[in-house]
Each structure stands twice: as structure tokens, then as C-alpha cells.
Amino acid sequence: MDQVLEYTPIIISGTITTIELTVASAIVALIIAFTVGLSRFSRFAAVRVAAVIYLEFFRGTSAIVQMFFMFYVLPLLGIHLSPLLAGIIACGFNLGSYGSEVVRGAIQAVPRTQHEAATALNYTSYQKFRYILLPQAIPVMIPTFGNLLIELLKLTAVASLITISDLTFMAQIIRVQTALTLEPFLVIMVIYFVIASCLVAITDFIAKKIAKGRNLTIRKGI
């Protein structure tokens, strides 16, 4: 164990990379989730179809293969992405597809009577989404987004396969250099768990904050 402690600096550096990768991918995923999820309600059939194709493609193919594709195949087409950028895009695009279903489901869950009330008050379709549907749907999305965020954190471990120096990558280095196996993986497992717990706490905090004063049942994250 003492031997592993000598590697504290690279474990810290790996932790930071993992957090960076998670946060950056989460932002990409969130943007994708809303763009694709809202596109499902577009009045233009082409937009709706494009959203479904996106969803089925990224949900239906392996995240590792997507990552390899971005890192190894795109350069052949003249597009060179840094490992970190390829990881962020692959993780963000993949989780974004799941997130879009959360957005769609939460909006569809708003009762039809709310649409009718908005129509009776002469809201435009944009105003209905912006001021009636989304404010009611977002609190419903938060707990599920929390679950997806943890999925995302775990997915980032795969990024070590495209040379990103995240926690998992660093554990491999320690294993190779010290011939220890249990210790480095035990350490990173604990770190992953601590990060995940922090993410749960943050999501719960946001969920409570948003639900304050409203009668919205908060489902616990995880």
C-alpha cells in the first residue's frame, strides 16, 4: 500500500481528469438531450425523423465503439480530435441520446389539460413549451438525469482505452510499474464511489431546490 501512496500525485491528476471528462461530457449530453428531446415535438417531420435516427444510432451502438470510431477512424477522414475531445464527444453524444428520452418523457407526462388551458389563454406553441410545459417537466427530469450522470461517470473509465490519463488509466500505470493489482484498483474504486456520492448529493440538492414551494414529489436519486 505504501508503494501505491507514492503514486498519490498521479492518482490526483487522474481524478481531476475523470472529473473534467465527466463534467464536460455532462454539459454536451445535456445540450444534446434537450436539442434531440425537444426536436421530437417539432412540427417538421424531417426534424422529428432526424431526432429518432440520432437516438436509435447512439443508443443502439456500443459507446466503446463510438469512442474508437472518433479516435481512430475520424483521423482517416482528415478529422483529428485530441483524446480528451474524442472522449468528451463520445461520452456526451452517447449519454445525450438517453437524456433525450428523459426530456421527451417528462414533457409528454404533462397532462393534456395543461395544453388546453394554455390554448384557451391563447399561448403560442413556443410560449406553451417555454412557460407551461418545460417548467413542469424539468423537475421531473432531475432525478433521472442524476442516474444518467452516474452512468456517465462510469462510462468515462472506458476513455482510458483511447489514452486519456483518467483514474482507470492511472491505475493501469501503477499496476504495471509496481506489479500490484489489488491496491491501485481498490483505491480508484473508492474514489469513483466518492465522486458518485457527491454527484448524487448535488442532484438531490438541485431537485429539492427546484421543488421548493411546489407540490412536486421528489423521487430519490439512484
Binding site: Q114, E116, A117, L121, N122, Y123, S125, Q136, R214, N215
Partner: protein
Amino acid sequence: MSRIIEFQNVSKAYGDLQVLKHLDMHVEAGEKLALIGPSGSGKTTILRILMTLETINSGHVMVEGDYLWHQKVNDELVPASEKHLRKMRENIGMVFQQFNLFPHLTAIANIEQPQILIKGVDKSDATNKARELLALVGLEEKENHYPHQLSGGQQQRVAIARALAMDPKIMLFDEVTSALDPELVEEVLNVLRLLAETSDTTMLTVTHEMNFARDFADRVLFFEKGQIVESGPPNEIFKNPKEERTRNFLRQIIGEIP
């Protein structure tokens, strides 16, 4: 008086179920109308068609002399565009059986937001008007309550205030007390009685409260199977109905033989 609403030979079906059959009816400006009749007789459908929540299958609906569900393009009558419907909706407001307040907004915000978004009213003017209307419905102290913190009767009174804030020329009340506990019915009906007396807005109400219909309405329409069976002033309909079907219905509802 001028005809503010006119149904001309309007039919409406849900699949095989014919809800309105070649319906002709008209409403004068400022008139207070009560629509009564058994469930499924098409009363609510009439309000929903006027609010543009249901389309019609054939015939024409006129509101203020303009086609509601159609518009003229190059002298040809075509189905109304969303733009035309939005223009027509400016004059019409509706209060629903289930209140349908926006649960994420406080009572006062429910009344302010549509004024600001749809009518372009300043925030401070919208607030003043909302307070005025909350006072009218007796809820000035509840302005910062969310809908779930209010009783059904209170929610319905906020919903009435919200619809009034848009200054509609036509107000539609769709069984507004049917979802309420019995002890809360009167507080809502009293607001409607007050409106009927003091406002020159045209009002159509679908109701099962016959005593209320008597107080509220200038004219009562009795519906059955998508058609008007009988129409007349409340005294006539309730005291001396001409049609056997009206008599049967009233006998069931009120329990006395008129």
C-alpha cells in the same frame, strides 16, 4: 342585439359516435346562456368547439361575424390556419371542470403571466389587474399560494379570475362545479351569479345545478343526443316545459314534477 355566436348546421362525431347532429343555434351579444341536458348530449362539445379545442366535421361556426373554423382565401372558404385561430381566440375565454391552473405558478402569477405574454401588458399593470380580480373572487389574501395549497373552490375562483383578466367578449364555463366537494359549490356559483349580474360579457355555462341555471341564465337550452330539444327563458323551461323529454330530464334531476 347582434348575434355574437352562430352555429350553422354543425355536425361533430368521434368515430362512430355522433355528438352534434346538424346543430343550429345562436347567441346574442351579452346573453347569459345555460346549457343543460344529460351527459353525452353534446353540451361540453359546443364549448370545446368554441374554444378551438375540438374541430367540427361539417357546417360553420360564426363568432362576431367571422368564421371560427374557416377563413376566406381568395374568396374560397378553407380550414382555418393556426394564425386565424389565434386571432379568433382573443375574444374567447374558458373555465374548465378541473380548474387547470398552472401548478408551477402562484395564484397571482397564474393571472399575471397570460396578460404579460399574450396581451403584452406591463408587469405592474398585470399585477394590479390580478389583485383586482382576486379581490372580486374573494381571494386577495391567497395571492402567493400555489394551486395545491388552495381548496378546489379557491382554485376554481382563481381560474375564473385568470380567464377574466384576458377581457374576453365570450366566457365559457364547462361544468365548473362538477369536480368540487358539495360544500364548495356555492362559493363558485356566487362568483358566477355576480358576474352574470354585473358584466355585459356573453356567457355560456354547461351545468347540472338547476337552481343556479335559473338565477344565472337569460335563456336555457335543453340538449339531448346532440340536438336542442327546447330553448327558452328559465321560468318557461323550469316551470312549464313544453317537451316531454325536457320534463323527464328535469324530473330526474330536480325530483319534482314540473
